[in-house]
């Protein structure tokens, strides 16, 4: 075996064993035919475009590509559902952010509006930057709606632009702040965006089945976002009133950890997990590994983000209360995530035999 052949075989290890069992020999043959006289050269290596094409094939095969094994098809569904649920949450939160931004810009009255444009002079570059930053959450709404309406390519573009806007926002804050925010904290929090976006990019590949959901599915997060915005406004009013009380913050230290985006995501995941457990026990025929695995995947970034809010050793009672709530959230998420992962793994179809008929 030449060195190049050995290197090609190493690249092919990206593919599942069942796929390699059927295809490896002919693929190596095709690679070496393409390499020509260079096949005997000790310095010859697989080219990056070749490696990239195998990596892309590996993703498709592992996530339910054409003729994939039932197990891979189930994993593909789980990853696509991860993208859908993650984008649904981001779309919901984006509605809240947009409503807050529109209120701040005076488009509609807010209880706490101060009647001034928040940043920069009209027509200035500063105003343009803040406006684009405040409107960037709309990209996640576009991504979600495009996905449920059967336009994954549009959804991918919107999600990538959303991630770029997220990074640009951090870069500007980092460059301009006297005390730059913690990079690690930002990276961990970004996982709540990165994980669904990554699931979207890899899960909705060329061979993924094309589905279009009903229009009302597209509207659900928008309605939820509007309702959440109203709830948060009412809670802000209550908190403002309560802050004048000598008992402040009283019960609010127990409430705040649930009102941050990661806290709301934690709440949504715990409710969804509870719903899944009930359905799993009451309707065995409708058990789906995809739902369990998708929820389990989503618990990881949310649990990590909640952990990043821990502030141990502060000494004051308010922070200690919030720490206790955060620890309880993380434990609940881990328990749910582990249980879902076990249920999902056990519900996966057995075997790894693809339906490609090549022999």
């Amino acid at each position: 075996m030449s060195l190049l052949e050995d290197r090609y075989r190493r690249v092919l290890r990206l593919l599942p064993a069942s796929y390699r069992a059927e295809r490896e020999e002919e693929m190596v043959s095709a690679f070496l035919d393409g390499a020509g006289p260079a096949a005997d050269d000790d310095d010859a290596r697989p080219r990056w475009p070749e490696i990239a094409s195998i990596a892309a094939l590996a993703v498709r095969v592992r996530l339910g590509g054409a003729g994939a094994a039932p197990r891979s098809i189930a994993w593909g569904r789980a990853v696509r559902l991860t993208a859908l649920l993650g984008l649904a949450f981001q779309a919901t939160m984006s509605c809240v952010y947009l409503a807050q931004a529109l209120g701040a810009y005076g488009v509609f009255p807010m209880p706490y509006a101060h009647g001034e444009m928040p940043f920069g002079e009209p027509g200035s570059a500063e105003r343009a930057w803040h406006l684009s930053r405040d409107l960037a959450p709309a990209l996640w709404i576009v991504g979600y709606v495009a996905l449920v309406r059967g336009r994954p390519r549009v959804a991918k573009v919107a999600a990538v632009l959303g991630l770029i806007a997220h990074c640009a926002d951090f870069a500007v804050v980092w460059a301009g702040a006297h005390q730059p925010p913690f990079l690690t904290h930002w990276v961990i929090q970004s996982l709540m965006l990165v994980v669904p976006a990554l699931a979207l990019l890899v899960g909705f590949h060329r061979d993924a089945p094309a589905h279009r959901h009903l229009g009302r599915v597209a509207v659900l997060p928008l309605i939820a976002g509007a309702a959440l915005f109203l709830i948060l406004m009412v809670l802000s009013e209550w908190a403002t009133a309560a802050s004048r009380s000598p008992q402040w913050p009283d019960m609010w230290a127990w409430v705040w950890p649930w009102l941050l985006p990661s806290g709301l995501s934690c709440l949504a995941l715990l409710v969804a997990s509870a719903g899944y457990f009930v359905a799993h026990l009451s309707a065995p025929r409708r058990r789906s590994p995809a739902v369990a695995l998708a929820l389990a995947i989503l618990t990881v970034p949310v649990a990590l983000t909640r952990l990043s809010y821990l502030n141990p050793g502060s000494g004051d009672q308010i922070t200690e209360t919030m720490n206790a709530v955060t620890v309880a959230q993380v434990i609940a998420l881990l328990l749910c995530g582990l249980t879902l992962a076990v249920i999902g793994a056990r519900s996966l179809p057995a075997g790894d035999t693809a339906s490609r008929s090549v022999s």
């Binding site: 295809r23 020999e25 002919e26 693929m27 190596v28 043959s29 095709a30 690679f31 070496l32 035919d33 393409g34 475009p49 070749e50 990239a52 094409s53 195998i54 990596a55 892309a56 094939l57 590996a58 498709r60 095969v61 590509g65 054409a66 003729g67 059967g150 060329r206 061979d207 089945p209 094309a210 589905h211 279009r212 959901h213 009903l214 599915v217 339906s355 490609r356 008929s357 090549v358 022999s359």
Partner: protein
């Protein structure tokens, strides 16, 4: 809650692979070479891409394994077009020819209008 969308059209890569197999069965690298020749060098299939296309076409029963041969101690699998694949290729070729005809007619009319 879900509606299946209408089947996606044939990609250019799939069209060229089917065309490459229309006259004779070919092995993997043979298909790569033929596609490059047919597209006058514009489409260069990577091996990962080729086998992704072959998996898709096999799943749709448009191509099938023809035979296996050993060449210089290495396995070569030859693929051929199925009858269903031939019909799909013909339908796609007719569709593309129609599009080309429309484009040609309109360009001719545009040129005629511009010179009038």
């Amino acid at each position: 809650m879900l509606r299946d969308m209408k089947p996606r059209g044939m990609t250019e890569q799939a069209f060229l692979v089917l065309t490459a197999l229309a006259d004779e069965s070919r092995h993997g690298y043979g298909v790569v070479q033929e596609v490059e020749r047919l597209s006058e060098g514009r489409v260069q299939l990577r091996i990962g891409t080729l086998y992704g296309v072959l998996d898709r076409l096999s799943a749709d029963e448009l191509v099938t394994l023809d035979r296996e041969e050993a060449h210089q101690g290495r396995l070569r699998r030859y693929y051929r077009l199925t009858d269903r694949g031939a019909r799909a290729l013909e339908a796609e070729a007719v569709r593309l020819a129609e599009h080309a005809r429309y484009a040609t007619e309109r360009l001719r009319a545009r040129h005629a209008g511009g010179t009038a």
